[in-house]
Symmetry: C2
Subunit: 182 residues, 2 copies
C-alpha cells in the first residue's frame, strides 16, 4: 500500500520526468498517472508509474516511468479467452533501461532487488538507450530496471488487461491500495 | 511520383522536424521515412511523411509529419476479412493540426486544396495542439492539415494495411513512385 501523500508525490515526480523527457502531457493526464507498488509496499525499489494515453478494446498506449533504481517486477501476459495475450513493444525515451528476457544468462550491469533472487528469474540482459525498442510476444517473461537516472518509456501494445498479468513473486497483488496518511 | 532527390530532401526535412519535436530517432529510422505523395505528384500540397516504429500483425505505431501547409488527403480504413478495419488514435506532438471528421460543417480555420472541393467532403473541424488526441473508429472518413508551422503526430493503431485504405479522390494511388532525377 501507499498513502495518499506518497501517491501525489510520486505522480508529481513522474509527470516531471515525462515532461523532462520531451513529452507534452496535459495537467489532466498528469493527475491520472497510476502509481503501482504491486502490493509490495516498497515503491521506491519495486514499482512503476504508468500514464495510459490510449485504452480501447484493441490497443493500449502507455508512458512508463521508472524512478532511479526502481525495478518493475518480473511478469508475463497470459492468453485471455480468444486473445493469445498482450503483445507489447517498449521503446525507451529517456534514461537507460536494463531489460531482462528469456535466454542465456548475460546478467552484468543490473542488480537483483536484495533478498528477491527467486522473483527475478530471467537473466538475459539487454541494455537499452533512447530510441531502442523491444517487442515481447505474449507469454514472454520479462522485468526491467532503471539506475541512477531513472527512465521514461513508451509501451505500445494490444489491449492491456493489467489485472490478469502473471507475476513470479507470489506476494504481488497488481492493484495498489491507497490509504489515508496516518 | 517524386524523384530520388525529392525523396531524400523530404526525408531529411521530416527527420529534422521529428527531432525538433523532441522525439529521439535513430539514423537508421530516419532513412526509412516514407514519403507519400498518393500518386498526385504534388507532395508540397498533398502528402504525408511517415516513420513506422512498430508494425506487427496486431498493432502499428507511426510518426506522421506534415510539412507547412501540407494536407493528408481524405480517406478511411475499410474492413479486411475478419478485421473490422483499422482503429487509429492520432496524438499531436508539435504544431497545430486541423482535423476533419463527419459531423456538422464547422469549417473555419483550414483551407481546401485549390480545385479539390469534391475530394475533401468532411467539414467538421477540430483544431488540435500538442497533447490533443482523437480516436477514429474503423471506416470513419478523415483528413488533416498543417499550417505554417507544419506538424508532428503519433499514430497509434491496430494493424495498418495502408495499400487497402480508401480515398475520396479518385486520382489517388497509395504507393508513391520514385523515379531517377532527370
Amino acid at each position: 500500500m501507499i498513502t495518499r501523500k506518497q501517491k501525489k508525490q510520486a505522480q508529481l515526480k513522474a509527470a516531471a520526468m515525462i515532461r523532462q523527457a520531451g513529452i507534452t502531457i496535459t495537467d489532466e493526464e498528469a493527475k491520472k498517472i497510476e502509481i503501482a507498488d504491486f502490493g509490495l509496499s516498497n515503491l521506491e525499489n519495486e514499482g512503476v508509474q504508468v500514464l495510459t494515453l490510449v485504452q480501447t478494446e484493441r490497443i493500449s498506449i502507455k508512458i512508463l516511468v521508472l524512478f532511479p533504481n526502481q525495478t518493475e517486477p518480473e511478469h508475463w501476459h497470459p492468453p485471455v479467452a480468444n486473445d493469445p495475450g498482450k503483445e507489447e513493444t517498449v521503446r525507451v525515451i529517456s534514461g537507460k533501461v536494463y531489460f531482462y528476457i528469456p535466454g542465456e544468462d548475460t546478467f552484468k550491469e543490473g542488480f537483483i532487488v536484495p533478498g528477491k533472487e527467486d522473483c527475478y528469474t530471467m537473466r538475459n540482459e539487454i541494455v537499452m538507450v533512447p530510441a531502442d525498442q523491444i517487442t515481447l510476444p505474449p507469454g514472454e517473461k520479462h522485468w526491467f530496471q532503471a539506475r541512477d537516472q531513472g527512465a521514461v518509456m513508451y509501451s505500445f501494445s494490444t489491449i492491456a488487461r493489467d489485472v490478469l498479468d502473471q507475476f513470479t513473486d507470489p506476494d504481488i497483488e497488481r492493484m495498489t491500495k491507497v490509504v489515508d496518511d496516518s
